[in-house]
Amino acid sequence: MQSVHIVSAYDEELKYLSKRIAAMGGHAERMVEQAISALVNADPGLAEKVIRDDIVLDEGQREIDDKAIVIIAKRQPMATDLREIVGAIRISADIERVGDLGKNVAKRVVAVTDGRQPTSLFRGLEALADLALTQLKEVLDVYASRSVEKIGFVRDRDDQIDAMYTSLFRELLTYMMEDPRNITPCTHLLFCAKNIERIGDHATNIAETIYYIVTGDQMPAERPKGDKTDKIVLPASQPAK
C-alpha cells in the first residue's frame, strides 16, 4: 500500500483488496442500518431487502479469500504486504459476520412487529445500534486513513456499547415481567440487541487487525468486559409497575 513495488500489478492487486474490503464494509453498514430502521418502522419490505442483500457480502468474502491466496502464491509477500493480505482475509470475515448479524435482525422484524409495539421498546435498541454503527464507521475510517492512534476510541466505544446492552437487557426483562404478552417481542428484541452488541465486538476485532497491519504488533490486550448481563437476576417477586 504505502510502498511502491517494482511490479506495478502487485500494487494494483493490493489496492484492489482494500477497495473490496471498503465496499464490503459500506454494504454491511448499510445492511445494519436498514435492518434497524425496518425494525423500528415495522417495515417487512425493507427487512426482506436486507435479507436478500446478504449474498453480496458472502460473495465479497469468497472473492477476497481467493484473491488473497492467489497473491500470496504469486508474489510471496513479506512484512507489511503479508500483513496487509492476511489482514484483508480476517477483516472480510468479520465484515461478513456483521452482515449475517444484520440479516438476523432483519429476519426478526416480522415476529417483533406482529402486534404493534410501543416505540419506547425500540428507542433503546436504536441508541445501541447508533453506537455500534458509529464504532463500525470509525473503524473502517481508520482502515482508510491508517491513523491507528485513533483506535483507542474504539475500545471506549465498546465499553459504552456493553453498558448500554446491559441496561437494555434489564429493561426488556422488566417489560416481560410486567406482562407475559410482551415475552415474544421482547425475546426477539433481546436477540436483536445481542446481535448489535456482537457487531460492536466485530468492529473491535477489525480495529485490532488494522492495528496489526499498520504496526506489526498485536494491540496491547487490556479488555475488561463491560457486559454484565451474565449476572443480571431480577427478583421474581418484583411488583409489576
Binding site: K15, S18, A22, A23, G124, S145, A163, M164, T166
Partner: protein, 421 residues
C-alpha cells in the same frame, strides 16, 4: 470579464506600436538599400536580392505581431487557463474533492475537510465513501462509460446528513475527476422535525392535558361550590400548563438544534467566562435548593472552538440538573481542567453533585429523549426529559464527548470533554 476587456485593449495598443515600429524598420531598410545602391553601384540582381531581403524584414515584424496576437489570446484565456484548480476549489462553498484515475484523492477543499473529517490527499476515495451508491458512482465515472453521474448519498452518523453527489471528469485527458457534494440535509431535517415533533409532542403533551381537562370537569361539577378545592385545583392546573410550556420550549430548542446545518463552529469560546456566567445565572436556583456551588478552575486561558450560546445551554442544563437532583448533597463542584492526554488534548469541564447518584443501569441511557431515571422525581422537579438530550446533541456538533460517572449514594459527575482542536 472586466479584466479580459482591459487585456484585449492592451493587446491592441501593443499591436499598433509594433506596426509603427515595423514601419520605421521598413523605412530604414529602404534608405539602406538606396544608399548601398548609390555608393557601391551594385548590379541589378543584388538590388533584387536586397528588395527580397527587405520584404523578408517587413514580414518579420508581422510574424512577430501574429505571434503576439496568439499569446495575447492565450493571456486572455490564460486568466482562466492559469487559474489553479486549488483556488477554484477553495472558492466553491460545497465540499469538493478532486481525484485521479485510481480514485485517489488529489485535492479536497476546506468545505470537504470540514464536512468529512479524516480525509487527506493520497487517500483512496472508495475507502472513505463506502456506501454502495457511492461505490457505484465512482465505478461508473472511472470506467469512462459516462462523463458524469449523480446520486443521492446519506450519512446517518454521527449527524444525519444528506447530499446530492455529482461526479464528472475534468477537461480533456487530464485524468482528473471531480466530486461535488450538494447539501440537502436541511430539507430532510425539516421533514423529520415535523414528524418527530408531532410524535413527541402529542405523546408528552397528552398527560398534562388530560389532567387539566379532568380538573376542569371536577371544577364544573362536584367542586363547583368549594373555594378551598377550587384554589388547589387551579394551582395544579397552572403547574400543568407551565409544564406544557416548558416542554414545548425544549422541544423547539431541540428541533432548532437539529435544524442547524452540520458545521464546525468557527468561533472561540472562553470557557472560564461562560461557566462563570452560567453559575451566576443559576445562583437563585441553587440558593432555593440549598445548594452551594464550588468552583475549581485551572489557571491560564481556557479557550475552545465552539458556539458560546450552545455551550452555555450545555452547562446550564448540567448545572441545573446537579442542583435539582443532587439537592440532598448540599453542594455541587464545577471544575475545569486541561487534559493533555492523547489522542485528543482538550479541556474537561466536570459538574459533580453529591446527591443520591444514578443507578448504573440507567447511565448509558439518560441522554435519550424522555428517558427518566425516576419519573415522579423528574415531574416534581419540572423536568421535561429533554435536557440531557439537548446537551448530547450540542456536544455531538462540537465533536465533544460527555462522560457520566456515578455511584449510587455518592453523587454523579458529568464531564464534558471539549477538544482544543
Amino acid at each position: 470579464m472586466a479584466e479580459l476587456g482591459t487585456e484585449r485593449k492592451g493587446t491592441a495598443r501593443v499591436l499598433a506600436g509594433r506596426l509603427w515600429n515595423s514601419r520605421w524598420l521598413l523605412a530604414a531598410g529602404i534608405v539602406a538599400v538606396l544608399a548601398a545602391y548609390g555608393f557601391a553601384g551594385m548590379s541589378a540582381w543584388v538590388v533584387v536580392l536586397a528588395v527580397a531581403l527587405l520584404f523578408a524584414a517587413a514580414m518579420l515584424p508581422s510574424a512577430a505581431a501574429r505571434q503576439f496576437t496568439e499569446s495575447g489570446a492565450a493571456t486572455e484565456a490564460g486568466g482562466l487557463q492559469r487559474l489553479s484548480g486549488e483556488y477554484l476549489a477553495a472558492a466553491v462553498a460545497d465540499p469538493l474533492i478532486i481525484f485521479d484515475r485510481t480514485a485517489t484523492i488529489v485535492h479536497a477543499n476546506a468545505a470537504a475537510f470540514a464536512a468529512f473529517g479524516g480525509i487527506a490527499p493520497g487517500m483512496s476515495l472508495p475507502l472513505k465513501f463506502r456506501a454502495p451508491e457511492m461505490q457505484a458512482l465512482l465505478d461508473s465515472v472511472l470506467s469512462g462509460n459516462v462523463a458524469s453521474d449523480v446520486v443521492d448519498y446519506t450519512e446517518k452518523l454521527p449527524v444525519e446528513r444528506a447530499y446530492r453527489v455529482s461526479a464528472s471528469s475534468v477537461g480533456h485527458a487530464t485524468d482528473l475527476y471531480v466530486l461535488v457534494f450538494k447539501d440537502q440535509s436541511e430539507a430532510r431535517r425539516i421533514d423529520r422535525m415535523r414528524a418527530d415533533f408531532i410524535a413527541n409532542a402529542s405523546h408528552e403533551l397528552r398527560t398534562p392535558l388530560a389532567s387539566i381537562s379532568g380538573f376542569i370537569e371536577t371544577l364544573r361539577g362536584p367542586a363547583r361550590n368549594d373555594p378551598a378545592a377550587r384554589e388547589q385545583f387551579l394551582q395544579i392546573m397552572q403547574n400543568q400548563t407551565g409544564r406544557m410550556a416548558r416542554l414545548i420550549d425544549d422541544l423547539l430548542s431541540l428541533s432548532r438544534l437539529e435544524m442547524k446545518p452540520y458545521l464546525r463552529p468557527g468561533t472561540e469560546v472562553d470557557l472560564r467566562q461562560t461557566v462563570d456566567s452560567v453559575i451566576d445565572s443559576l445562583g437563585p436556583l441553587a440558593r432555593e435548593n440549598g445548594v452551594v456551588v464550588e468552583r475549581d478552575f485551572v489557571e491560564g486561558p481556557l479557550d475552545v472552538p465552539g458556539d458560546r450560546d450552545e455551550l452555555f445551554q450545555v452547562f446550564e442544563n448540567l448545572l441545573e440538573n446537579a442542583c435539582k437532583y443532587g439537592q440532598s448533597g448540599g453542594r455541587v463542584t464545577v471544575s475545569i481542567a486541561r487534559s493533555d492526554a492523547a489522542p485528543e488534548p482538550g479541556i474537561d469541564v466536570t459538574i459533580r453533585d453529591y446527591g443520591p447518584g444514578i443507578p448504573e443501569e440507567h447511565i448509558p441511557r439518560i441522554t435519550e429523549r424522555f428517558y427518566r431515571v425516576d419519573v415522579e422525581n423528574s415531574r416534581t422537579q419540572k423536568g421535561t426529559g429533554l435536557g440531557l438530550s439537548i446537551v448530547k446533541h450540542i456536544l455531538t456538533r462540537h465533536n465533544a464527548r460527555l462522560s457520566i460517572k456515578s455511584e449510587v449514594g455518592n453523587g454523579a459527575a458529568f464531564s464534558v470533554h471539549l477538544p482544543a482542536r
